[in-house]
């Protein structure tokens, strides 16, 4: 259903994707796993025809994203990790608007919106302004929106992020239901632990390259699932990053959110910094990392698995 061939994408000198090749079969729930900056979102954007590849090509239902982007758009439904809604539309109008954008006839739009809102358990909010929904409900509305034109492939960027535990369970169940309906689902997640009971296949992306791909069980057998550790501290970010990078079991470390500029901080107030550590070591390794940080003068405020 999705065929990616030697796909590369560069932004100036930075390479976001480097000759990525993948194949996703129909009905699969395929997880693109990797830390921030690995190229997951870029890959989804190329498949959604929002970005043009620098080299290579990708095919959705046999259609090239390079040569037939408008036809590809009818085959895919893309849900960005962070998206807005129109403040002057109700939930039903929001779905009906996107159905209209895809050419669904006017007579069918109201029924379609009702069906989709029912599917994502938002029917009782059909007349609620879309911008008044909670983030979790808005996310479900987004999933309903991507289904408005009955696409064959769903591209979901971090669909489980920012959801409360109950909403996560609901979205997982919804994705499995969609997969059973024959939809192919490509989703991005920061670590394998999040999708081990959801995905059928996965690819591990690191620095724009595929480190490993195949059925999820094979990947799990070969690779211990990554965990993300959030480290909040006071002090020098560069020192903390160097110490973390050198520790055993660390796959990647990224500032979260990006460090603020000095002008943002009131004079004399120490800023709390946060690093997200992609970790595949044992608990003893995590403990050793924490000790190293504290003994090296980094004032750790919290150290927890995300």
């Amino acid at each position: 259903m999705v065929e990616i061939r030697e796909l590369s994408k560069s932004y100036g000198r930075r390479t976001a994707l480097d000759k990525v090749s993948l194949s996703v079969s129909q009905g699969a729930i395929f997880g693109l796993v990797g830390p921030r900056g690995a190229g997951k979102t870029t890959l989804l954007k190329i498949l959604a025809t929002l970005a043009a590849p620098s080299a290579g090509d990708a095919f959705v239902a046999g259609l090239s994203v390079v040569n037939e982007p408008l036809r590809v758009r009818r085959q895919v439904g893309y849900l960005p990790s962070d998206f807005g809604v129109y403040p002057d539309q109700t939930c039903a109008e929001y779905i009906a608007f996107f159905a209209a954008c895809y050419g669904v006839p006017p007579k069918e739009r109201a029924t379609l919106a009702a069906d989709l809102l029912q599917l994502v358990d938002l029917y009782h909010h059909k007349d609620t302004p879309a911008n008044r929904l909670t983030p979790a409900m808005r996310h479900r509305l987004g999933i309903a929106r991507v289904l408005a034109h009955d696409p064959r492939v769903l591209l979901l960027d971090e669909p489980l992020a920012r959801l409360d535990p109950r909403a996560r369970v609901e979205v997982r169940a919804l994705l499995q239901e969609l997969s059973s309906m024959g939809k192919t689902v490509l989703l991005t997640v920061p670590n394998l632990a999040e999708v081990q009971d959801l995905c059928t296949h996965a690819a591990l992306l690191q620095a724009g390259r595929i480190a490993q791909t195949g059925p999820l069980q094979d990947i799990l057998a070969a690779t211990p699932p990554y965990r993300t550790i959030a480290v909040k501290f006071l002090g020098d970010v560069r020192l903390a990053m160097n110490l973390i990078k050198a520790a055993h079991g660390v796959v990647d470390v990224q500032p979260f959110p990006p460090p603020p500029t000095s002008s943002d901080a009131p004079a004399g107030v120490a800023l709390l910094k946060e690093l997200r550590v992609t970790f595949d070591g044992a608990y003893a390794d995590a403990s050793a990392l924490l000790r190293t940080l504290m003994h090296s003068g980094v004032q750790v405020v919290s150290f927890a698995e995300d």
């Binding site: 025809t49 929002l50 043009a52 758009r73 209209a100 954008c101 050419g103 669904v104 408005a148 034109h149």
Partner: protein
């Protein structure tokens, strides 16, 4: 869940146009703006009429001066609307989508950049046109009082409509270029005021400076060429173009052309009337801005 029928009918209104127009007309702001604009325009027109009529002789044609004042006042109101209000309707058209994080989702639909730009343009221009045409019945007051010819309305309408189109497209283009609506709005007003006030002002200063410099070598031909250049340049501003066209029409009765210094000696340069220059230049610039806006949206897609 039923699979929707994706066959496109032969004719369908753009969903963006329907959404934008529906959203705008659904809000109380639209009706408030329309009511305030009409109330101000009609009360001031009636006030001018009452003040003017009380001091005019009660003879046939005695109120023609009042009719002209009412006419020019209404044209001025329309120009103010086009200069200050029309860009505001379009300046957020694309930048707001970006700020609101709805643009990426919109771009994944099969709508082409040209379809998006067209729908946004019609939606923004539609409301401006509604405001403009709502004041047309007030012009009957001017015609009732006399002193104004229907042909003068052609001059005013051409200038106002061409300006509405250009300034809306300018706002739309800058909205596609700028990341924030505030940035798009401020830059649009800067450019529009530059055109409306800056160009005629610069032309007048330039011509008087050159005039003074050439006083020693005065030649009628040079003087006429300068005047022709001045008329061509001031034709780029709707206020000066409409005013000049109305004045030339009033003095010579010529609607379509004018000949600067026709009474003088030597080479006579006949120009199209300033409102015609304005309309044709603005239409050409509008076509260019439309193409640039579409290209800009298409370029974003390649980033």
């Amino acid at each position: 869940m039923r699979a929707p029928n994706l066959k496109l009918p032969n004719f369908q209104l753009s969903p963006i146009l329907v959404k934008e127009m529906g959203g705008r007309m659904r809000s109380a702001q639209a009706y408030t703006a329309l009511t305030i604009y009409l109330a101000v325009a009609s009360s001031l027109a009636v006030l001018i009429y009452l003040v003017g009529v009380s001091g005019s002789p009660r003879t046939v044609g005695g109120t023609s001066g009042v009719g002209q004042v009412v006419f020019y006042f209404l044209v001025g109101m329309q120009l103010l609307l086009v200069i200050f209000v029309a860009p505001a309707f379009a300046a957020g058209a694309v930048s707001f989508e970006r700020e609101n994080k709805t643009f990426d989702v919109l771009r994944t639909t099969p709508l082409t950049p040209a379809q998006i730009v067209r729908a946004k343009l019609i939606a923004a221009l539609g409301f401006t046109l509604l405001l403009l045409f709502a004041t047309l019945p007030l012009f009957s007051l001017a015609f009732l009082l006399g002193g104004v010819e229907p042909r003068q309305l052609i001059i005013a309408l051409c200038g106002v409509l061409a300006s509405a189109l250009l300034y809306t497209l300018l706002a739309l283009y800058l909205s596609a270029r700028f990341k924030t609506t505030v940035g798009a709005m401020l830059s649009t007003y800067a450019v529009v005021l530059g055109i409306v006030v800056g160009i005629p002002l610069a032309a007048l200063i330039g011509v008087s400076t050159v005039d003074r410099a050439l006083v020693a070598v005065y030649s009628p031909l040079l003087n006429r060429l300068l005047n022709t250049a001045l008329i061509a340049v001031i034709s780029l501003s709707p206020i000066s173009a409409i005013a000049a066209s109305e004045i030339f029409f009033g003095t010579s009765g010529e609607l379509w052309t004018l000949t600067p210094g026709a009474a003088g000696i030597g080479l006579l340069l006949t120009l199209p009337s300033p409102f015609l220059i304005l309309t044709s230049v603005y239409l050409a610039a509008s076509a260019l801005l439309y193409a640039l806006t579409v290209r800009r949206l298409a370029r974003i897609e390649q980033q």
